[in-house]
């Protein structure tokens, strides 16, 4: 009997979702997303915007930035668990061979794994974030939908780039625990480097390190678009990118993300010996 096309893909996707989100992992993360999103939206957004009344665009950007803070970190934890630890463990335990035995091209196997590990997490993260925004500030969100979308695109570029890099690392070292440790180290190293470069820009009055950093993390450019960066030397405005510049940084950031994922796909499809 001929097997229907697409079934092996769904089999792998279903198995991956079952493995990545065993009951009640999905529900616990949904709870954490919801509680952190609303708590930070209420605590930070309200008082800050009331003390300094701003335009709708600046307000909605501030709202999105505040409500995304902790949930984005929770999202990263979920990604580290699923992509870095989960994928690395599949190599370590040898279960990846079972997946590769399906009559499916390797890149489709990786797509199914990523759809489960990254797609479901992203869907839940964005779903709860937009739900919170539409509940708390429907009029402002509808009036500034472009700013909301740009804010999310800018903020997600860096975590997605990190995911792609760590996916390559997990495939290369083939150990879940070690890949997870390396992922955490890389995340904190990049955060420290980001802080140092920002401080360097402010103290020297040269925005070049920040511009370079913004390619990796376009949310910085968007932040300085709404709140221009002032220099300690002379107090003049150091960097205030235009909206088009911000879009260019976001485009650059996603080019890096796409390039990193293409490398991961190429490595998994052609170079990986199992």
């Amino acid at each position: 009997m001929e097997r229907r096309r697409g079934n092996p893909f769904l089999e792998i996707l279903a198995a991956s979702i079952h493995e990545d989100f065993r009951f009640p992992i999905l529900e616990v993360f949904a709870f954490l997303y919801a509680i952190s999103t609303f708590a930070f939206l209420g605590l930070g957004g309200g008082i800050a915007s009331m003390l300094s009344p701003q335009s709708g665009e600046a307000y909605i950007h501030q709202l999105v930035s505040i409500q995304m803070g902790i949930p984005l970190f929770i999202f990263l934890i979920l990604i580290f668990k699923n992509v870095v630890y989960g994928f690395g463990s599949e190599f370590e335990k040898g279960t990846i061979q079972t997946l590769l035995s399906y009559p499916l091209k390797r890149h489709m196997v990786l797509t199914a794994k990523l759809l489960s590990a990254l797609g479901v997490s992203l869907l839940m993260f964005l779903g709860i974030q937009f739900f919170a925004l539409f509940i708390m500030a429907p009029q402002t969100v509808f009036a500034n939908l472009a700013t909301v979308i740009v804010s999310y695109l800018a903020s997600l570029s860096y975590p997605l780039f990190l995911t792609a890099i760590l996916l390559i690392v997990a495939m290369k070292i083939r150990k879940g625990g070690l890949a997870l440790v390396l992922g955490i180290v890389l995340y904190f190293a990049l955060s420290v480097a980001s802080g140092i470069l920002t401080a360097l820009s402010i103290t020297t009055g040269n925005p070049l390190p920040l511009k370079a950093l913004s390619v990796l993390n376009p949310s910085l450019a968007l932040q300085y678009h709404f709140n221009p960066l002032g220099s300690l030397v002379g107090g003049e405005i150091l960097w205030n990118p235009s909206f088009n510049e911000v879009l260019a940084y976001i485009g650059g950031g996603y080019c890096l993300v796409i390039a990193a994922f293409l490398i991961a796909y190429y490595y998994f499809s052609r170079r990986l010996n199992i």
């Binding site: 939206l41 009344p53 739900f131």
Partner: protein, 192 residues
């Protein structure tokens, strides 16, 4: 067990988890941010008074609580307009000009309540950013003695928005999860 049943069940369980988080947040009471205005004044017949200076900038996280005490029936308005603008349009607190202004700017009325004798407390949470100006109108032929207190409150999750969300999400979540649990029990019974 059908995959669609499992998928819907898990979605339902996620809805219930979100409802649980929202229910916890609803129990956290709003906090006074320390900005308030109060006063007592007599309001002449067929006239109005702008109360609270200046206009408050409100957003969905910052709600306003108004306590009014009056000895006559009055109307209370919250209007999305700067105080200076309404003062320019409605000179000398002229009721006819105010009615005309309200007719032309009906879409900017955020709240309109008729307040009877005694003490009344109102709360208002906007949907977006608004400049709230508060107006008390006495349309009677007798004057009214009014005392008011307007406070700004910040809440983690305004009840007016969260409770309807729980009302819709909760039953959907329970329904979806229920069919999953039922199907799972049935599946276990069939296997044993």
């Amino acid at each position: 067990m059908k995959r669609i049943s499992i998928a819907l069940g898990r979605i339902g369980a996620v809805f219930l988890a979100v409802c649980c988080a929202l229910a916890i947040l609803v129990f956290i009471p709003p906090a006074n941010v320390g900005i308030s205005t109060s006063g007592t004044f007599p309001l002449n017949p067929e006239t109005l008074m702008l109360v609270g200076t200046p206009s408050f900038s409100l957003n969905p996280q910052v709600s306003v609580k108004v306590e009014l005490n009056t000895n006559n029936t009055v109307e209370f308005y919250i209007i999305n307009v700067l105080r200076e603008e309404i003062m320019r349009e409605v000179r000398l607190n002229n009721l006819t000009k105010f009615n005309e202004f309200m007719k032309n700017n009906a879409d900017r009325i955020l709240l309109n309540k008729t307040i009877g004798e005694g003490s009344t407390t109102l709360e208002y949470t906007p949907n977006g950013i608004v400049n709230a100006t508060f107006v008390i109108v006495n349309r009677n032929l007798h004057s009214a003695n009014i005392s008011y207190k307007i406070e700004l409150l910040t809440s983690i999750a305004p009840k007016v928005r969260i409770i309807p969300a729980i009302t819709y999400l909760g039953p959907i979540g329970a329904l979806l999860t229920g069919q999953w649990v039922f199907a799972k029990l049935k599946y276990k019974r069939e296997r044993s």
